[in-house]
């Protein structure tokens, strides 16, 4: 982006910890495992890292940048920065790391993120208790937990597009079953049993109309991404991956109101902004994309984003997922690692890792033939980041 080709920022390394329903070791071990793996993958050492970037709502209390640096391995860091929240924030961390490299401020940056929701009291559900409006006007009404939020989205979606709940669940079933089929090709996935429509429809109800298999598994785990200059990445063991374009969108509502007060409920207009900006920045069209990794905390959230990211028209998501899509080997494979739904609920950093694996051609049984351009969509409560990644030429 305006820098010399040698300074173009590339993803040179990715690493993951074990993904577990509940870790038996403190979280820091998972995160360090992932960071070590990413640095190894890039052929770099902790001493090469000059900047650290992470997300701003989960990580400060889980493993802050200062604690990470104080572990004594990152003595050459000259900038440590938090970005926006959850999935979108992970994407913003990558974007900012790349920008600083291309601006010549640093040569190598580390992005890290992980979750301890499997071990944390209250899991992920109590995260929003920091907001007094949610505490006093929602928790007190029994409206707590992301499954309840997205269940309401799902029912409103069905109504808006003239579908019965059974028809909607048929479409969500397609997403769950096909995503699981992809997960069976991925050794790190937590859910690898082949899923049939019968299994889906027999799963217990969590928050009607969403059942257990519409929801991601609560997870402990961590991942990390190393970025460096194209010049430096040329010496890395693996083919570098370039950021072709990035976009960000946000709601004017804060996290208290965004799940209920969006004027276009249940649509996510900031997702469209994010995707349009990324495609414009990359000078690419939707038809250029070889595979997509889309934030799928729930089946319905993937359905909404397929539409709001412009991969199909609003209301056409059910037809889109019923056609030749999602599954590895289809026209547009989505969440080739099994996604949050079947691989692990890592809030999307695992989507970035998988996109890199695909573009390197090392995704194993899930490899998409001739994958050159990957679309990554990362959702948060009120924000969205889209990244278009490409195999560096």
């Amino acid at each position: 982006v305006g820098s010399s080709p040698a300074r173009t920022a590339c993803i040179a390394g990715v690493g993951e910890s074990a993904y577990l329903p509940r870790a038996e070791v403190p979280f820091v071990h998972l995160q360090l495992d992932a960071i070590d793996a990413a640095l190894d993958d890039a052929g770099l050492t902790p001493a090469d890292v000059q900047a650290i970037h992470t997300e701003s709502l989960v990580m400060p209390s889980l493993l802050s940048t200062d604690k990470l640096i104080a572990l004594g391995r990152f003595g050459n860091v000259r900038a440590a920065t938090y970005h926006s929240a959850y999935g979108a924030g992970i994407g913003q961390a990558v974007v900012a790391a790349a920008a600083a490299i291309e601006a010549g401020q640093v040569d190598t940056a580390l992005v890290y993120f992980g979750v301890d929701f499997g071990s944390r009291p209250g899991a992920v559900y109590a995260l929003h208790g920091v907001h007094p409006l949610k505490r006093d006007l929602e928790f007190t009404q029994g409206f707590v937990g992301q499954p309840a939020y997205f269940a309401m989205f799902a029912r409103r979606y069905a109504h808006r597009y003239g579908m019965s709940i059974d028809e909607l669940r048929g479409a969500l079933c397609e997403i769950a079953v096909r995503t699981r089929a992809n997960a069976t090709l991925n050794k790190k996935a937590l859910r690898t049993t082949v899923l049939t429509p019968r299994d889906y429809h027999r799963a217990r109800v969590i928050a009607d109309p969403l059942g257990l298999l519409d929801c991601s598994p609560i997870t402990d785990g961590a991942a990390a991404i190393v970025l460096t200059t194209a010049e430096r990445a040329a010496d890395s063991p693996h083919h570098p991956v370039e950021i072709l374009g990035a976009g960000y969108g946000q709601s004017l509502l804060d996290e208290s109101g965004v799940f209920t007060q969006n004027p276009d409920y249940p649509r996510l207009p900031f997702v469209r902004d994010s995707a349009d900006r990324a495609f414009a920045a990359a000078d690419l069209t939707r038809s250029d994309v070889d595979l997509a990794q889309i934030y799928d905390c729930f089946t319905i959230s993937m359905l909404l984003q397929l539409e709001d990211m412009g991969l199909c028209e609003p209301g056409e998501g059910p037809a889109f997922v019923a056609g030749d899509s999602i599954r590895v080997g289809s026209a547009l494979p989505v969440n080739t690692h099994g996604g949050l739904l079947s691989q692990a609920y890592l809030m999307g950093i695992n989507h970035l890792v998988e996109a890199v694996h695909q573009l390197r051609g090392v995704a194993g049984a899930a490899q998409v033939h001739d994958a050159e351009i990957a679309l990554v969509g990362l959702l948060s409560a009120r924000e969205h980041t889209t990244l278009l990644l490409g195999r560096e030429r």
């Binding site: 409006l133 006093d136 928790f139 029994g142 499954p147 928050a207």
Partner: protein, 156 residues
């Protein structure tokens, strides 16, 4: 179809305790809770652009004004969406699932959605657009929640 709110006071208190005890509201909710005690929907309207805004923010997201006027918009609302929660997503809910919670759009403030536990059986047949009526709910932290139940005639 009418009924009591499905969450008793001690559960409401336990649910509130899940949140941060020290987090303060930027705009005090007293007028809303006072209205709830009378079974009335009372909402903040921006003094600048005249739009209802829920939840109240420090400044109006539409025009950035910071003054709010609280208005009573009656008792009637329409059901915008709902879920029947079967899995307790918080420990205090374990003895109370399944229960129904919905979003209500006040007839006289159609840009607003209010979260409410619905005083209906979990197996009740509900429909989007169904008429609902506000009534006083459980006490919480010195105020009272507003809850909604199906209006006298249940549309099926």
């Amino acid at each position: 179809m009418t009924g009591s709110p499905p969450l008793p006071g001690e559960v409401v208190d336990a649910m509130r305790a899940l949140g941060s005890a020290t987090a303060l509201h930027l705009v005090p909710l007293g007028p809303h809770f006072d209205g709830a005690a009378r079974g009335r929907i009372v909402l903040p309207w921006c003094a600048g652009c005249g739009s209802a805004h829920w939840y109240p923010a420090l400044r109006c997201p539409r025009c950035c004004e910071s003054g709010w006027v609280w208005r009573d918009v009656g008792t009637e609302a329409q059901l915008d969406t709902w879920t029947v929660v079967h899995h307790a997503l918080a420990p205090a809910l374990r003895e109370h699932v399944p229960f129904t919670v919905g979003l209500l759009v006040p007839v006289n403030a159609p840009t607003v959605r209010i979260v409410s536990a619905l005083g209906v059986p979990a197996a009740a047949r509900l429909s989007i657009g169904q008429a609902m009526t506000a009534r006083p709910g459980p006490e919480v932290d010195g105020g009272r929640l507003l809850v909604f139940t199906a209006a006298a005639t249940d549309r099926r």
